[in-house]
Amino acid sequence: MTELRGIYTLWLREIKRFIRDRARVVISFIQPLLWLVVFAAGFGARVVIPGIDYQQFLFPGIIGQTLLFTAMFMGISVIWDKEFGFMKEILVAPISRFSIFIGKMLGDSTAAMLQGVIVFAFGFILGIPFNPLTLLAALPVMLLITFGLVSVGLIIASFIGSLENFGAIQTFINLPLFFLSGALFPATGEGIPQWMQIASKFDPLTYGVDALRTVILGSSWTPLQPLYVNLAIIGIFDLAMIGIGTWAFSRMKK
């Protein structure tokens, strides 16, 4: 009971902080719009994805990208907690490190999910053809993707001491994972260099984006892997990250 209450408390804090940071919420609304409207219009005019309109192809990718960026950002916010001292208050509380990790992870995941659902709404407004009911099918897939990504952010943050390294995360984690995932263009298949095909196999987001396309685009999309294989890979990734995260948090001193 103590542990559950602790988890709930930490979850609630993340949500409150997320909602109160209005400037960031607005900025994070704009970014997916830029991709879906401007980028899709220009890039889509030259690129042909067999069987699908480019914007339609891009849409699940941008949901994945939004989940990735928000999850990573929220996870990294632990650095703030460390720098401004709040982490100490949590670490000396009589709850286990596992609960602390899970509480934060669920809170940050909720924030990323809210963000992802908003992109869904944009897609609807922009007239991207999909059945509104697919949202219900997409939600659990999105959640599964988010858990692992948030965990990665939390793990990195638990090792990094200061905010100065923040930009490095963008360069070394977010963008490579985004580009290699096949969100913007197919990262496998004919004409794609061998190295990229291999690298994309090691990108957890590859499986996330593929799963989202399968769910959202339905029969017009030919999956790289069957849905259950994608989900199994993401699930295993999540469990591994949660395990590492708990370990990383238990060695954190301040």
Binding site: G85, E89, V92, K254
Partner: protein
């Protein structure tokens, strides 16, 4: 149980360096216990171990009867901590911060509201409770942190440098809280500080710590009494030369150079003062002012650790004059 805290050979090693060295100390129930020492003396390390943030390298301690190594969960429930550095969420309101703490320490839901109101009243922040922390002043944040440490009604409250960086008025304010707190709540307070006046005003007993060990432990009054005599504080145009003269001609051992004055501890200051002035005159050293005062904790600290708590520059000079130590009685 008469002791709120007992340590048994408590030790923290970093490689070969002993930050805390076989510490054996007992803190009585209901007292304010001052832990005084220069930076790096091992105060914060000791407190971190008692709060179960750090694991001891060897030895152990009990807090509120619970072992800090084997029963860290129970220890955590029994203690409140106010950290040296801020540890509050400034994007939440005061009330939200307190509520979060109550939840983390599983204060029964039915009692939360009451406790929060109580604490807000104690630290006089009722009217600001629903404002975001970022709009609070430094002193207000500190007060809220002290209040937060009390929400779960701890048996032992750790205050690590509670008034660092605050203006004199706020410090005074916070000191009064701490005093009142102890009276009203039957709580044991462990206070670490490097402010002498703070330790003097608040503590029932003071332990002076240096190099990971407790050098001396007593009431502030007794500590000051152990230093017999008076302190003469002299300002002259050449403090250093005067110090050498006093050592040479009058055999003074207990001298130290402060930033702009020379402080001499002697058994009978009234009789000595004229001789100092005379000696200075004979050697054409001009004395700007000369003051007689009772020893304070700073002098006590210096006496036991051989170094000033504020800076270590006087250490060497003091050590030199200590070699010549002989009484003039």
């Amino acid at each position: 149980m008469t002791h709120a805290i007992e340590t048994h050979q408590l030790t923290k090693r970093y490689n070969s360096f002993k930050a805390v060295d076989n510490l054996n100390v007992s803190v009585d129930n209901g007292e304010i216990f001052g832990l005084l020492g220069p930076n790096g003396a091992g105060k914060t390390t000791t407190v971190s171990m008692l709060c179960t943030i750090l694991k001891p390298s060897s030895g152990t301690a009990t807090v509120d009867g619970y072992d800090i190594v084997k029963e860290s969960g129970k220890v955590r429930k029994s203690i409140g901590i106010v950290f040296q550095d801020p540890s509050i969420d400034d994007r939440l309101t005061g009330r939200e911060n307190l509520l979060m703490h109550a939840n983390l320490y599983s204060v029964p839901v039915s009692m939360q509201r009451e406790r929060i109101e109580e604490v807000l009243k104690l630290v006089e922040l009722e009217d600001r409770a629903d404002d975001l922390l970022r709009t609070y002043s430094g002193g207000m944040r500190r007060r809220l942190e002290i209040g937060r440490g009390l929400i779960h009604q701890p048996k032992v409250l750790f205050l690590d440098e509670p008034t660092v960086g605050l203006d004199p008025q706020t410090r005074d304010h916070i000191w009064r809280y701490i005093k009142d707190l102890k009276e009203a709540n039957d709580i044991t307070v462990v206070l670490t500080t490097h402010y002498m006046d703070e330790a003097d005003r608040l503590s029932d007993r003071i332990a002076i710590m240096d190099h990971g060990k407790i050098v001396v432990l007593d009431t502030p009054q007794k500590l000051k009494e152990t230093l017999e005599g008076d302190v003469i504080a002299i300002k002259s145009n050449n403090n250093k030369a005067l110090m050498e003269l006093l050592t040479k001609w009058l055999g003074f051992a207990n001298q130290r150079l402060e930033k702009d004055s020379l402080e001499v501890t002697v058994p009978n200051g009234r009789n000595i003062m004229p001789r100092i002035v005379e000696l200075a005159n004979q050697n054409s050293i001009y004395i700007e002012s000369i003051v007689l005062r009772e020893p304070n904790l700073e002098d006590v600290f210096l006496h036991y650790t051989g170094s000033s708590i504020r800076e270590d520059t006087t250490k060497e000079l003091y050590g030199l004059s200590a070699i010549h130590r002989r009484a003039i009685r």
